[in-house]
Amino acid sequence: MAKLVIQDLAAILSAKNGMPQEDLQQFISKLFEVIQVGVERDNLVKVKGLGSFKVIGVEARESVNISTGERVMIDSHAKVTFTADVTMRELVNKPFSGFETVILNDGVTFDDMPAGETTPEAEQESVAEPEAEVIEEAAPEPVIEPVAEPEPEIIEEPAPEPEPAPEPEPEPEPVPVQEPVVAPEPAPEPVVEPAPEPVVEPAPEPEPEATVEPEPEPAPEPVAAPEPEPVPEPAPEPEPVAEPVSAPQPAPAAREPEPAAEPLVEFVDEEVKGSGWVKWLLLGIVACVLSFVAGYYLGSRQSQPESAAPVEEPTKSAVVAEKDTTSAVKNDSTTEKAEAAPVKKDTIQAPVETPAPAPVVVDEKKKDEEWAISIEKANEKYEAMDSRIRTGAYYIVGTKEVVTVQEGDNLRKIAVRSVGTELICYIEAYNGIKAGDELKVGQKINIPDLKWKKNIRSLKQKK
């Protein structure tokens, strides 16, 4: 997070291509000089790979002096704007490039599900995102609030996401993830229900024994698993498998090619054996389709704030496990279950937590009101300290986190990492320090939890 000047740039460049540093330094300053002159002359300079600089006029407008509260007039003037061009923009945004804008549905209905199923990537996202929506709905505040909390979670997500993407395995995974949710409700077939349950405990280690247990009664998958082993064809490749399967079963296969692909690996191997496999195949596909569809439906209706994150974890570990055991198809089926098992735990825990806040909010509006008033009171102190806070849009409602000062840190850097540079004044006031103050390594800085003033006030007025 350093601030580089021309000298630094020249040093890096000369180390790269061996040109004398002074020449480079001169070149760089000339470069920007030309831009500057060009902007002044033509009002517009476009530089490929960087962006365009433009002079635009600003209309006269009225404003308020933040320290005195007086109304002042700002004359019309011109200013320089810069817009990064596409290459530069994408380069800078690389860490977050995995995200896309997603449309949020209020009542997520069954009808618009299949659209999301077609692409596994889009599905993963849409699974994660509606949840974010639901969380915010549960809270009394308007959804638009730029809450700071959900963010850290989401930031960490891009890391795991791009990683599993290139592999073929993670794609079918969202499907088994949903599976356990189904089990309790429609109970479509005994197949789905008993399977994940006994496996819950042995889940971490993909042991073949675990799968043997549920085998006796339903067991399309476990049964299928041991059989193909003797067959000298363990390579589980989804593509060739998908083809023969989609032929006899066009309808379900077409609807969800991904989920079908994995379990079918076993079945098609069995086909070689050719004894009663059709029955199992049918059973398995029906179970898959039912559980997937119903699971999706249920999952989207329940508000599960945590499930997005934890779901990623078990699947990831499962992927690792799968990698180890891909040689044996049998183990594949166990790990597949292993995936389902830990996820089930997560999904079960999640709903338990979430319903709580909603009714509390409804019943205890009064408490909210008192809370809002107390927050306002508490913030009077900070507002008196800093006019930026008085005129700002946020109240401090508590401590979000405590940050320990690292080597080379200053308050500005900490602010950028936590609340953003614009809100540095809140950290200053909350900790009673100034932006320019020296910070000691190891010093603790409280990061305030900020809420929109508007929302707090609306709590008060609701009553």
Binding site: V34, M88, P95
Partner: protein
């Protein structure tokens, strides 16, 4: 002034050939890009400062359809002209 004119002007002032100038400009910009990716800001005296800022994720409502959309968080490159230049543009600016 488009990129071509810019390169031509720069090569005229520096004395390099224009294709060489373009190459050097590109390498300067890649170096700057590398700095931005590490979150560093680049300050050019008399010109201004480039820095990377993070925009929080937000929910927008499309006015036409009423659809709500979640816009993901992103990093954007910002530029702040130096005070000297800003004042200069401000005062004689808009000379269309």
């Amino acid at each position: 002034m488009n990129n071509k004119e810019f390169i031509a002007e720069l090569s005229r002032q520096t004395g390099y050939k224009s294709d060489q100038t373009q190459k050097m400009v590109n390498s300067v910009l890649t170096t700057m890009g590398d700095c931005f990716m590490e979150g560093d800001s680049v300050m050019i005296p008399g010109f201004g400062t480039f820095d990377v800022k993070k925009k929080l994720e937000r929910i927008i409502v499309s006015p036409g359809t009423g659809q709500r959309m979640l816009v993901p968080p992103k990093l954007v490159l910002g530029f702040k002209p130096s005070t000297v230049w800003k004042e200069k543009v401000k005062n004689n600016g808009g000379n269309e």
